[in-house]
Each structure stands twice: as C-alpha cells, then as structure tokens.
Symmetry: C2
Subunit: 217 residues, 2 copies
C-alpha cells in the first residue's frame, strides 16, 4: 500500500520548522543552517561526512518514493510566482527524481528537469493533491516534503502515515510553527525517540493501524 | 560553588510546561498526568516502578540542594492566595526538606512543615529571590522548581546553571509555554540529549564556563 511519508523534517525546541524572514539569500530565515547542520554533517550531504544514526535516518529520504508533494514555500523564496524563470533551488537535476507536485494558488506549466524530476504546479487541497500524487506514484510511496505549514495541513487532514522529525536543540523564537492546531495528534501515532551523538533527537511517528472491524477499541 | 539547577521539567513537543485551565482538580490542566507519566512509572514515584535512565535523571532532584525557589503557580491552584489555610499540594511533609521560597505578590507568614521544609513567601525579582535562597543554601545548590513562567524568567535573567528538560512526545496545543522570549538561549549552554525507552527524551543544558580572563573567545 502506498504511504505518505515525511523525512528529515527539522524543528527547533520551540517547534519552528523555519525562521524568518525567508528570502532568496536566507531560505530558512534567521535559522540559517542550524536546523539542518545535523544532516550537512553526514555523508548524505558531504562524502566525507558521518555515517551513524543521522545518516541512517537521512537516507530514508531516498528509498521507495514515486512522487513528492511540496508547499509553495519549499519551491522558492516568497515571490517566486512572479518570476517566470524560477526553476527551484536545486539546479537542473533536483534530488527528487520523480513527479513532484508544488502546491500553489498560481499554477504554471510543468517543468521537466534532468534526472527524472518534473515539477507540476497544483492549486489543490491536501487530499486532492494526494490523489494526483498517489496516482503518479503507483505502488511506491509519496514523500511530503514540507515546509512546516504544508506538513501541518496534511497532518490536520489525517493524511500522513509516517513522520520523521528531528528535534534540534535550539530556540528559534520566531518563524513557522509546525504544531499549531494539532493538539492531541500523538494519539493517532506510535512514537519512537532516539537521540544522536550529534545532539539532535530523531522522533518517528508511525500511524496506528485502524482496529479490525468488529474488534472493540 | 552553589549552582541553580532545574530538574525533571517536562514539556510537550510544542513547548508547553502545563496545560490549561489549572485548578485544584487539574494542577496541569488538560495535560493531566501526560507530562509526568515518565516519572510516575519509575521507582522515584512508585516502589515497584522502573529503574533505568528515567529514574537516574529523576533522582537528581534529591541530591545536593539547600533551598528551593518556586513560582506562585507551583505552590497552589489559581486563587490559593485567598485561602489562609492553603499549605501547598504536598501534605504535611513536602518533598523539599529545605527552606523553600515561593514567589508571590501577596506574601504571608512562613509555614514550617515536617521533614525540614519551611515555605517562605517572597515578593521579589528572580535575582533578589536567588540571593536569599543562596544565603540559605550555603554551599549547597538551589533548586528552581518551576512552573514554566518561573523557569523562563530565571533563564531570561541568566540565572540558571543546569536545566534538565524532559521532552514528552505529545502536542498540548495550549497552556504555559516555556520558550517564549528565549530566542538563542542555547548559545549559553552545552546540550546533551538522550532518549529513553519510555519514549521521552532527556535534554541536559549545562551553562558554559565563562572564558578565562585574557583568553580571546
């Protein structure tokens, strides 16, 4: 069964998935690289990097996906919709290698990149976008790529099967919060936490199986 | 040297140290026991409880203290100041066993309890209260007991040497936030995280030593 998975989504101790202001120069705002230093330090990013638990988690980003969905804020800095030449942050060979659906209220024509990535632009609800992405993914899973408000919207809609969060021991103070409106969301998930020598903690939320029909809860 | 230490301070993933509304029946509001279940399950609380990493952390609450400071909200439910007979949540032998300073804008006469605990009531700033508590503690440390707004105030004033937080994998959504106004506070601390099989993550913040005089930073 095709699943919806979030990987390597870093948040601060106070629950921000990005700082502010986000711009071309500072895609994560005042957070800089602080939220992702744990990943940059692994061989997922740098061939000379570390190969322990952080790499193990980071690598799952690559495995078993047939499509990605991302929010508008992940595809480009504020205002990218006004730039007809914007082709994403990632150069001509983006690291998705599948159909990749960008949620935006101002859709444009698809962008076929190298390496198997094609960006499609959808003005759609989470459920509608997911139906399109699942169709494209076939038996494979759909990666939900962020940012924070997109992950939040999909969680609120009950559409996320696996959520890998990375709690980074910093206090950002401002930015985009992941958890707003998600009170009690943990009741839908089994949770495992494992801390890394790098200082971050990997939190894995796995959606609980629905009880079999006729079995009392 | 006498230190200021916080132990066993539990927060949700979204950074709340208590839920709401707080009352005599629900001291942690809608959080119930969710923030402290990890501790209740250890032999720190229940003689038949667990004896692993959660107990090891919990037990440090008992070691080396000569005084405690707590906020008004830890001593009693909202409105306790209007009840002249209120003597705290803990019965006649509270688990502090030292002079214990309760911050309140409506101080009253000291309460001498059994087991070495005497409650003193202070209308004072964090620094003023700490001076009094350190005098009482002598060579021993001062425990900062919470709640969230009291820990936050002492952190903002730069008065906390060791901060043991317990990140509980729940989303409370509302209550009292620990981190407000503390952007970048991690830069003053060395941080260690360790996850427990119980599902919580212990985060230990240890204040960095000031650089020696004459040594460039």
């Amino acid at each position: 069964m095709s699943l919806v998975r979030v990987h390597n989504f870093s948040i601060s101790l106070d629950g921000f998935g990005a700082g502010e202001p986000q711009s071309l120069e500072t895609p994560f705002g005042h957070a800089g690289q602080k939220l992702h230093q744990w990943m940059i330090a692994t061989s997922f990013w740098d061939p000379a990097g570390s190969t322990g638990v952080d790499l193990a988690f980071a690598s799952r980003h690559e495995i078993g996906f047939g499509a990605e969905i991302m929010g508008s804020n992940k595809f480009g800095p504020p205002g990218w919709q006004d730039d007809p030449d914007w082709r994403g942050w990632w150069g001509e060979d983006p690291p998705f290698h599948t159909p990749t659906y960008v949620l935006t209220h101002r859709p444009r024509s698809p962008l076929e990149m190298e390496g198997g990535t094609t960006f499609h632009f959808l003005d759609a609800s989470p459920a509608e976008a997911l139906a399109v992405a699942k169709e494209a993914a076939g038996e494979l899973d759909v990666r939900l790529g962020g940012g924070a408000s997109t992950v939040r919207d999909f969680l609120a809609a009950g559409l996320v099967d696996q959520l890998h969060l990375v709690i980074v021991p910093i206090v950002l103070g401002r930015g985009t919060r992941l958890w707003d409106g998600l009170e009690g969301i943990e009741e839908q998930y089994d949770t495992e936490a494992v801390s890394s020598p790098s200082g971050v903690t990997h939190l894995s939320l796995t959606r609980r199986a629905a009880p079999a029909a006729g079995v009392p809860a």
